[in-house]
Structure formats: C-alpha cells, structure tokens
C-alpha cells in the first residue's frame, strides 16, 4: 500500500476543490479527517501526496498522523487505482463457495497480486471481506456492478473486453 508512486505522474491538484471539501463540507474539523480523505480519494482514485500536505496544513494535523491513518485503513491507497476495479468478495460464505480460487485465477491471469493494478492502469484487483450479499456467493463486483454467483468463466468474460480495450 505504501509503495512510492512510480507508474505515473502526480495529477494536478485543485486546491479550491480541496478547500471546499475540507472547509465547507466538513467544517475543517479534525475529527472528520477520515471522511475528508475518503472524499479526496474518490476524486483522484488515490491519496495524492500534494493533497495530503494541503490537508495537513488546513486542519493542523501533522503529515505523519495523516499517513498513519492512510496506511492503517484498508480502503486508502497511496498509489493510483486502475480505470476499472474488480472486487472479489472473500467473506466466509463466498470463500466456502470458491472465491479464493477466483482471486488466484485473476491474479495469475493479470500477473498482479490482489490490491495491485495492471501496468497499463486498466484494472485493479481488490478483495473485500464481506459485502453482505452472502446469498449470492461468490460475489464479484466490477465497477460497482454486482455479479452474483460468479465463476472463473464469468470473470473471464467480464475481463477480456477490458484487457482488449
């Protein structure tokens, strides 16, 4: 999670946008820091360093504390995510119905570990601990679209067009 960002350049940071999130949406409160970071991440698809430095100055929390939070919680990423994100649920019900094999298959197919992004930035493979849709196990979610009772075959069908793009 905490590897340096080597694959692409830092995006241009819109400080007015950041200020709006920090001050208007969350009133500049330190306690809302996690939610501010979530909003920033939704926008940039990760937490750019320049944005974190700005956040640190704005709410008066040391940068080390911000990075402590960023590396503690699983949802934060310090490197950009791919254009598409595939989540495979590895909750217990999904695990019992073979989601582990699916993760392994996709990891092999893409040549990346779970949590990582393909070199061409097309696809990120993520695992999630439970989506609360256990009756549909195993569940795969591609770009927020749920695919119940997923199989290795189905995932191939979903991914092949993306990889061929």
């Amino acid at each position: 999670m905490s590897e340096p960002n080597t694959c692409c350049e830092e995006p241009e940071i819109d400080f007015v946008f950041l200020d709006r999130i920090i001050q208007e949406e969350f009133g500049g409160r330190k306690e809302a820091m996690i939610m501010m970071m979530q909003t920033i991440q939704r926008h940039y698809r990760y937490l750019p360093e320049a944005a974190m430095i700005y956040l640190s100055h704005s709410i008066g929390v040391p940068l080390t504390k911000i990075y402590e939070v960023a590396t503690f919680y699983a949802s934060f990423s310090l490197v950009p995510k791919g254009k598409h994100i595939l989540h495979i649920c590895t909750g217990t019900a999904c695990h019992l119905r073979g989601s582990g094999g699916m993760v392994q298959h996709v990891a092999q197919k893409l040549g990346i570990e779970p949590g990582k992004t393909t070199a061409d930035m097309k696809l990120t493979l993520e695992t999630v601990n439970c989506l609360g849709a256990c009756a549909m196990a195993p569940v795969a979610v591609l770009d927020e679209q749920y695919h119940p009772q997923a199989t290795v075959g189905l995932i191939n069908e979903l991914l092949d067009p993306i990889l061929a793009e």
Binding site: R29, K30, E31, A32, M33, I34, M35, M37, Q38, V61, K65, E68, V69, F72, Y73, A74, S75, F76, T90, G91, T92, A93, C94, H95, L96, G98, G100, G101, M102, Q104, H105, V128, N129, C130, L131, G132, A133, C134, A135, M136, A137, V139, V141, E144, Y146, P148, T151, V152, G153, N156
Partner: protein, 632 residues
C-alpha cells in the same frame, strides 16, 4: 455499490410541536390509507438489489402505470428493505393477500399486474416450493422459513418503505419515544431496560440496562454511539436493519440518550454498506424535519442530534474503544479497559456504545414492557436474536428466533437443510474469532445462547451463522480465518500480532502438505497464549478458529500432516480430480465449463482431466450432474 436515490417530495413535512401531535399525525396517515388496498412490497435489500431488484421495482411501477388502474392512494408499489429470504430473490410480497412471489425478472412485472393484481389469480410459477416438495406455497406466512421465526427486531424490516418516515410512523415508529418523554423518568427507562435483561447484541453480551445506568451516573457531556461496523464476514443482520428500518435504530438511540441525559449521537457504519448510510442519512433528515430528532423534540425541550460516520475498512474498528478513536478521525486501535468507555470514551467523555440490533430492540421493550421481553428466550439470554444464515444451506437469509432455539431447528426447519444431498459437517458462529461447532457428533440439539456456545468453545458473536458441508476442509477454514485476522490485527500488542502470524505460517504449511509432527501441539500452545494475553476482545478470541477445529476435527489435521491428504478436497496440493470412467456419460458439460481447457473427450465417451493443466477451480466438480468427478 452505487445507490440511486429516490426523488424526495417533502411537501408533506410539517413540524410536530407537541408529544400528542405524533398520535394525531399517525391517525391522519392511517385514515388516508385504504386498509384493504393492494400493496406490492418489492424487496430492495442489498442481496436482492445485487440481483436486479431496482429494475424489478421500476418494471412493476411501469406495469401498474400501463394498466391504468384506478389507484386512489399511492403507493401501490412500495420499495422496502430486506424481506430476508435472500436466496429466493428478487422477490416481492403482495398485501393484504400475503402472496409471496420469488426469483422474478423485470419482464415478469406485466404478468403479475395483469394476472394477480387485476385478475386476482395466482401465477404458480412465481411461487416458492420447498426443497423436495412439488407443492407450491402461496402465502408468505405459510412458508416454513418465515413461519418458524419470531420477528421483533425485524418486524418492520421488509414491510415499511425505509425512505419514507410516514410509513414507519403508521407502523408505530417513535411512539415509544413519546412514551418515555411523557410518562417515564430517565431512571424508569433504565429500570425497564434492566428488567428486560437485554444483553448487547454486538458479541460481548453485556447487559444493556447496566451499561446505560453506569453511563448515566457519570458527569459531563454524554455521547450515545451506535456500532454499525458489522465487520464479521458472512454477517449482514445490522446492514439489513439499518437499510430496512432505520427509525427503529434512531428511536432506540434517542431513548438511550434521554435516559442518560445525552444530546449527541453517532452511528458508525462500515464503508462497504453505502445503502445503509444513505438510508440512515435520509431517515435522520426526515425525523429532524418532523421534529422527532434534533432540537426541542416534540416541544419537550429534549435535544438529540445524530450523525452518520463511515469507517475506512478496518475490522478492529468494531471494537468499542477502537471505534471511538476512529470516530475522532484517528487510527482505530483498542485501548486497555482499566477505565470503561461509559466513564471516559469518545472525546474522553462518558459514552454509551451499543450495536444496531441492541438499539433496535429498545422501542419494543419500552412499548411492551421489560417483562414481556424477558419472557422470550432463556433465563440467561433473554429475547430474540437475528442470525444471518449463510454457507452451504438451502435457505440463505436473515432469521430471527428466540434465544435458546436449537441448531437443528435453525439449520433444518428454517434453513431447509443442506443442498445437493451433502452431509452437514459444522456450523461456524461468531465471525472470524468464533468457533466451528461439529454438528453430526453431538451438538445438533444445542440451544443457541450466550452461555451455551461459549461452553463448547465458540462464541455467539454478533450473529453470523455459517453452515459448512462435507466438502469443507476445517484446516483450510481455520487458515482462512487466521489469515483474515492477521490482515486485520491492529498490531499494537505482541500476542495477537505475532501469535496470529506464526499460526498462519504453520497452517499454510499444513495445507500445502508440508506439515510436521508436533504442529498441532504448537498451534495449541500459541493459540492458548494468544487468547490469554492479548489486549482487546478481538485478540483474546482470535485463536478460537484454530483451537475449536483442533478440538473437534483433530483427525483432519492429522490426515493433512501424516497422510498428506485433504479428505474434503479443498487444499489444492493434497488432492486431485479424476473423472470416473464408469460413471461419466460423456455429456461434455465439464469440458465446456473448464476455464483451463484441461478436459478432453469425445461426446458420449468418458472424459479425461489432464492433471498438468488442471487449476482445481472445481467448476467441473460442481457442475457434473452425474457425480462422475472424484476427489482423490
């Protein structure tokens, strides 16, 4: 994961300024309804939504519009929370006839409207048939899955539209709050809670009344916090409650706040539950607009403001002190409990934390009395409990039963038994730090409750219940849970951080066929140590999956270590798949399904798996209708 928000029409909102206004408002709403009008309740819980329930909802609305029905009182088609019978989704119930239609497609909508709504006829192919029965069941209340339940917390879930507070008010929401504001002193509320014997539903089972009392006793600003960080994989009780009946949770919190003199509340919701966040935020807004939350509630001078916060993906934040630290915008690390949170918790102030289900019980207890609640369940575990029944069981979904119900009743009568004629092997309760209860041996008739499960080496936890069949490898399951906990351990105390890491290493070795003599004993030693000396509740139960599987399935560990075999056919290094030529009919399904192209064979001739290509994804095994594929 995205949620589409319903278009809000808020012209009806008028602030209620006196306690008696609520009952009057409720009567007006009831009078506007035709009691015998047909209502179509479409389940839009997370499960059904994943299966396309929102498309079904839109199609139903369109079909009703196309039919030009003379509908005086809207809505005829209603979006509700989880109906709880998730394995039959997308589904709907037609009231007041109580017709239950399941496994629907948007294209079925027109037929339902024409045949059933207009024609008054049942469409048999939409009805539910219990496994092994040809007789379809018309009424929802006659389906064993529903008939065998006692719904207290879930009473309004799947019945009301969670995005419209009026619907909840019609069904009694906030009348318990009016009762405490007008008829009860804070002390009397706490007394009623103590009589109810309600124990915290988050896992630890601390009596709620006692917790409220000790928090109320403290000086300073009090906080009321709701734990909606349902992190246990395989558990979705709290999600469905927040999504299906948000006002029960909010009303419970407001009553708690009144009893301890608090004016501020927080609900901490898992980030994986966007629908719950949306439902709660909408519910809070509507309740504030009506004067049921916020400043000067119902003109009584009582203030209570609630806000929703989301987590950021850390299992440990389900622990109370870690949750409070996360609410403060910090990393979620548990702290030692020399001082309880009820004395010094959130913002170093007295804080009462309960989980979603605990608060959702409160309005019912206030309305019906603590004694009524205590009359359900057992002596030590009063009331009902919601479980999410998942895994290898026919009827997957949410169930609510009185405490003390037997596992047999849950798995067979409500759950409908094990699919594909497999044998029941174990039931796992309590999430990753729970334990696996072996079923056929002796525990099928065990009564589910706080004490009983702890006696046999598991915990009740928050209510996840995962059924495992004969194709489940207990060593691998225990490795799976330990791996989960290694990733989620916050890492501050050594027994949990190091103990789990070492246990995972050993278990991984065993599942790869590299187990050694003495591994079992070593696991027991590390596990016992980890459970004894970790800091927080998660650490002190983290070795349960290992210890309980060794206790009950030792022979399976031995088979892995000594014989280098995985009897259940799960650990890839320890088995291979073979097609039995004498059983194979040559139908070709396995060949078509195999993603690795590892199967060859002519039609109507026995097929062959090429071992060097096989990735053991089990697609062929699961899809062979003739059981021709053997685990060797």
């Amino acid at each position: 994961m995205t949620t589409s928000s319903p278009a809000p029409d808020l012209s009806w909102i008028k602030k209620l300024t006196r306690p008696e206004d609520l009952a009057a408002y409720r009567n007006t709403l009831i009078a506007e309804q035709q009691p015998d009008a047909t209502r179509i309740l479409v389940c839009c819980g997370t499960g059904c939504k994943a299966l396309g329930a929102l498309d079904l909802l839109a199609a139903m609305k369109q079909a009703v519009a196309d039919a030009h029905l003379d509908v005086k009182v809207a809505p005829l088609v209603k979006r509700t929370g989880c109906h709880s019978f998730c394995s039959r989704g997308p589904l709907l119930t037609i009231q007041p006839q109580d017709i239950f239609y399941q496994k629907l497609k948007p294209s079925d909508a027109a037929e339902i409207v024409q045949e059933t709504i207009i024609g008054g006829k049942i469409v048999p192919r939409f009805l539910y048939k219990p496994i092994g029965s040809k007789q379809p069941i018309e009424k929802r209340s006659e389906i064993p899955f529903f008939a065998a339940q006692t719904r207290v917390v879930l009473e309004r879930v799947g019945v009301v539209d969670p995005f419209d507070i009026r619907d909840s008010i019609v069904h009694g929401a906030y009348s318990a709050l009016v009762k405490v504001l007008t008829q009860m002193s804070p002390k009397e509320v706490i007394e009623e809670m103590k009589i109810s014997k309600l124990r915290g539903r988050g896992g630890a089972g601390f009596p709620a009344g006692l917790k409220w009392e000790s928090c109320a006793r403290q000086k300073g600003r009090h906080y009321v916090i709701c734990n909606g960080d349902e992190g246990d994989p395989g558990a979705f009780m709290d999600a469905s409650t927040m999504e299906g009946d948000p006002h029960a949770v909010l009303e419970g919190m407001a009553i708690a706040a009144y009893s301890m003199g608090s004016d501020r509340g927080f609900i901490y919701v898992r980030m994986e539950y966007p629908l719950a966040v949306q439902t709660l935020a909408n519910a809070i807004r509507q309740a504030e607009d009506l004067g049921l939350l916020g400043q000067n509630i119902l003109g009584t001078g009582f203030n209570f403001k609630v806000s929703v916060s989301t987590g950021a993906g850390a299992f440990v934040c389900g622990e109370s002190s870690a949750l409070m630290s996360s609410l403060e915008g910090k990393v979620g690390r548990p702290r030692p409990k020399y001082i309880r949170s009820t004395e010094k918790g959130f913002r170093d102030s007295p804080s009462n934390l309960n989980n979603v289900e605990t608060y959702a019980n409160v309005p019912k207890i206030i309305l019906n009395g603590g004694a009524w609640y205590a009359s359900m369940g057992t002596e030590r575990s009063a009331g009902t409990k919601v479980f999410s029944l998942t895994g290898n069981v026919n009827n997957v979904g949410l169930i609510e039963v009185p405490m003390g119900t037997s596992l047999r009743h849950i798995v067979y009568d409500i759950g409908g038994g094990i699919p594909n004629k497999k044998e029941l092997k174990a039931v796992q309760t309590g999430g990753p730090s729970g334990g696996c209860i072996p079923i056929p041996k002796k525990f099928l008739d065990i009564n589910v409750g706080f004490g009983k499960l702890a006696e046999i080496g598991s915990i009740m936890g928050s209510g996840g219940m995962i059924v495992m069949d004969e194709n489940t490898c207990m060593v691998e399951v225990s490795r799976y849970f330990i791996h989960f906990l290694v990733e989620e351990s916050c890492g501050q105390c050594t027994p949990c951080r190091e103990g789990l890491t070492q246990m995972e290493r050993i278990l991984t070795r065993i599942t790869r066929g590299e187990g050694e003599e003495g591994d079992i004993e070593l696991l027991e030693e590390i596990g016992t140590f980890t459970n004894s000396f970790s800091l927080c509740g998660l650490g002190t139960s983290s070795a349960n999956p290992v210890l309980s599987t060794i206790r009950y399935f030792r022979e399976e560990y031995e088979a892995h270590i000594r014989d280098k075999k995985c009897p259940a056919g799960v650990c890839k290094a320890l088995y291979h798949l073979e097609i039995q030529p004498e059983v194979c009919t040559g139908c070709g399904v396995c060949k078509k399904r195999c993603p690795a192209k590892a199967i060859t064979g002519e039609k109507k001739e026995p097929h062959l798996i090429h071992q060097e290509l096989c990735i053991k994804c089990m697609e062929c095994y699961r899809n062979c209708k003739f059981d021709a594929i053997a685990i060797r």
